[in-house]
């Protein structure tokens, strides 16, 4: 089996197309990482602009003041700082409503993210009002976490064109939300924000595509080369070879997944560091109802995306065992991965949206998966989206691989 497995891996990896695909994948990841890093900016007191790694360091230093538990005192401190700055006419440029650069940078910038959380909490549901803080009171600040929970209650009780939440779904979401640890843990999270909101999805979508391209010939290549006749007439040609191929597919796909992920993480961590891993996920996604830290979301996202990529691999294997050529397997498989990207959410059908949620183009978006309120009801049981994605991907793997096995073992050379 070892030799068979080694040769199956070699068959996948030795192809020129595989080498090119991995090379292009790595290039894209480098380009994406550098783009994300380079878009970090920081303005000095004199209005001069810093970008990239330098800006990241400046932002980190600037936000250090708010690190730790986001207690009512810390929220009040930020709020009072805002009021003090805004209420002092000498902080404005001439007669305009624009703050002076140096005032913003030294007085407000360190509290910017905390103030942003306050604005999100006190803005009307579904809106973000930048000036809302002028109508917020100390009492409201003291009620920060209660008001956030009330906002979530409001969100689940709203009328939606595609259908409203059932009572059990509302209870499920609110119950989960009430278990969120407060006060939130706050830290510099720009790096994690960029990783989860911008890099993660694109990186895993690219990995999914690369896996489609690399795995597509796994069975189809036998048909294409005509080697199927020789292979199928051998002792292990209808059983053990299929296990070897499936295992080789898993090993190669996993290798690509972890190599590409590690590549992306090394570049981004090198620029941002790992600071912020222990912060509450709500610092990034304020209304998320999951009681998780950023690292926990990251790790869960990694696990989910690994399973999704393995599901993509399994479907590609099935197509490869059915299609006559690896090209048609790649095309169909890539369509399955990419087409949902261009399908807008339905305004009338919740069921449609819930199905689309499970397809790779949506499910790979970890940040959204852990932010939205899409929960699945099965009778009286309510299951959250990440769990459904996990179950669905596992189901796809468990269905597609035996079908691929069956298809190749029953293949007739005619």
């Amino acid at each position: 089996m070892n030799m068979l497995l080694r040769f199956e891996c070699k068959k996948l990896l030795n192809r020129k197309f595989t080498v090119i695909t991995i090379f292009v994948l790595m290039l894209c990841i480098i380009a994406l990482s550098l783009l994300i890093i380079s878009e970090n900016t920081y303005y000095n007191e004199d209005g001069s602009r810093m970008a990239g790694a330098e800006a990241i360091q400046a932002n980190k230093a600037s936000q250090a003041i708010s690190e730790g538990k986001l207690t009512k005192q810390k929220l009040q401190e930020a709020f009072h700082q805002y009021q003090t700055v805004m209420n002092n006419p000498s902080n404005y440029e001439g007669t305009t409503n624009d703050l002076k650069d140096e005032v913003y940078v030294t007085e407000l910038k360190p509290y910017d993210n905390v103030l942003s959380l306050l604005r999100r909490n006190y803005s009307p549901t579904g809106h973000y009002d930048y000036y809302i803080l002028s109508s917020v009171s100390d009492e409201m600040i003291n009620q920060f976490y209660e008001m956030r929970h009330a906002k979530i209650q409001e969100l689940v009780n709203m009328d939606y064109s595609y259908g409203n939440y059932s009572q059990t779904e509302k209870e499920f979401i609110l119950n989960k939300d009430s278990k969120i640890e407060t006060p939130f843990s706050y830290d510099y999270t720009d790096g994690w924000s960029d990783i989860l909101q911008r890099g993660f999805f694109t990186v895993f979508l690219l990995i999914g595509l690369a896996v489609c391209v690399i795995i597509a010939p796994i069975f189809a290549y036998e048909y294409q080369t005509g080697a199927d006749a020789v292979v199928l007439s051998t002792r292990f040609g209808r059983k053990r070879i299929i296990y070897a191929k499936i295992l080789a597919g898993f090993l190669v796909s996993s290798g690509i997944f972890f190599l590409a992920t590690a590549f992306f993480m090394i570049i981004t961590f090198a620029a941002y560091g790992i600071q912020g891993w222990n912060a509450s996920f709500q610092i990034l996604s304020f209304t998320s109802f999951y009681n998780l830290t950023i690292l926990q979301v990251f790790l869960r996202g990694l696990l989910l995306n690994y399973l999704i990529v393995m599901a993509v691999m399994s479907i590609t294997m099935l197509l490869s065992s059915v299609c006559k050529t690896s090209f048609s397997a790649v095309i169909i498989s890539a369509l399955w991965v990419f087409v949902p990207l261009f399908i807008p959410s339905s305004k009338s059908s919740k069921a449609f949206n819930y199905i689309i949620n499970l397809l790779p183009a949506k499910a790979l978006d970890t940040y959204t998966v852990f932010s939205v309120y899409d929960v699945y009801s099965f009778g009286t049981a309510v299951i959250s989206l990440p769990i459904v994605i996990l179950l669905f991907s596992t189901f796809i793997i468990l269905i597609a691989l035996p079908l691929a096995h069956r298809s190749f073992s029953k293949h007739q050379v005619a």
Binding site: F7, K10, N14, E222, T225, A229, S233, R235, Q412, A414
Partner: protein, 301 residues
């Protein structure tokens, strides 16, 4: 050791490729002759388990190969008509890969690979990619992989197709060397290849077994079917239209024809010793674009 084909049938939609084919093979070399589309490849694919029969059975030593399953494949060696290979593999890697598919242990696989690559004259190019091989080299690699597991049943589908005469002779000798104590079934439409190495010849037409026997048996059957006749160039067209002509040669006295026919084609036609090729033409003339023996109506003298 006995391989029985019992009313083996394969139907593709409206076409019957193999039609109730029954035959028994014991150790020896069997040559399967037939025109293109006769069903040779389909028959061989069924014997090699890569194509399921529509009806009928294949029994090895009295047991169905469906029941024997992997144990049957273990004693099987197969070189398909269009031998598929992995262009990016070296000859050695391909052999080792096939050895692992045939369940040969690692050390034995290396030893057997070296032996066979040497036997087929590919030792020097063992580490070269197969994509760089000539047609003859690929066929030799094909036969080497087929005998890796020292099979009891060796199926070779058109093993000499596309080879030059020198390669063909080399290949025929190789098959003779490897055929000891085995059932070897090889198909071809090159009659001379079969005449040289086959103990038994099986002729197949439109999916059916039409005749079988040793070279001597078939030559005996062909007695009285071959005629030598010298005609004028003007008469040639008439004879071509009416008889199956296996050979023609322009001489100083006219055109010398070798005619395959049950009846004497002309008063001055001389009977000659018939060959397997004559018998082949006798059965397959219609499929080869020649005038069928059945439609021959004779020439007005």
């Amino acid at each position: 050791m006995e391989l029985i084909l019992d009313r083996l049938t394969k139907q593709f939609k409206n076409k019957i490729a193999v039609d109730r084919f029954s035959y028994t093979m014991t150790a020896g070399v069997y040559g399967l002759l037939g025109a293109n589309g006769a069903g040779k490849t389909t028959l061989m694919r069924m014997i090699c388990t890569v194509l399921n029969p529509t009806a009928g059975d294949i029994l090895f030593d009295g047991r169905s190969i469906d029941v024997l399953s992997e144990r049957y494949c273990d004693i099987l060696g197969y070189l398909p008509q269009d031998f598929g290979y992995y262009p990016d593999f070296s000859a050695r890697d391909f052999m080792l890969y096939m050895a692992s598919l045939k369940g040969i242990k690692n050390r034995a696989a290396h030893r057997r690979t070296d032996e066979l690559l040497h036997l087929v004259g590919l030792s020097d190019v063992a580490t070269q990619k197969i994509r760089s091989f000539s047609g003859g080299m690929k066929q030799r690699l094909g036969i080497a992989q087929a005998v890796l597991n020292d099979p009891k049943i060796l199926i070779l589908d058109e093993p000499t197709a596309g080879l030059d005469p020198k390669e063909r002779i080399r290949f025929r000798n190789l098959i003779s060397d490897l055929a000891k104590d085995k059932i070897v079934l090889l198909s071809t439409h090159i009659v001379s290849d079969i005449e040289c190495i086959a103990d038994q010849i099986i002729m197949m037409k439109k999916g059916k077994l039409i005749v079988s026997g040793t070279t001597a048996d078939l030559t005996e059957q062909a007695k009285g079917l071959a005629w030598n006749l010298i005609v004028t160039p003007n008469e040639l067209k008439q004879y071509e239209a009416s008889y199956c002509i296996s050979n023609l040669r322009h001489t100083s006295t006219g055109v010398e024809l070798r005619i395959v026919s049950e009846e004497k084609p002309a008063q001055n036609a001389q009977p000659i010793t018939a060959t397997i090729e004559d018998l082949f033409l006798y059965y397959f003339a219609d499929e080869l674009g020649q005038t069928s023996r059945k439609t021959s109506g004779g020439i007005q003298q």
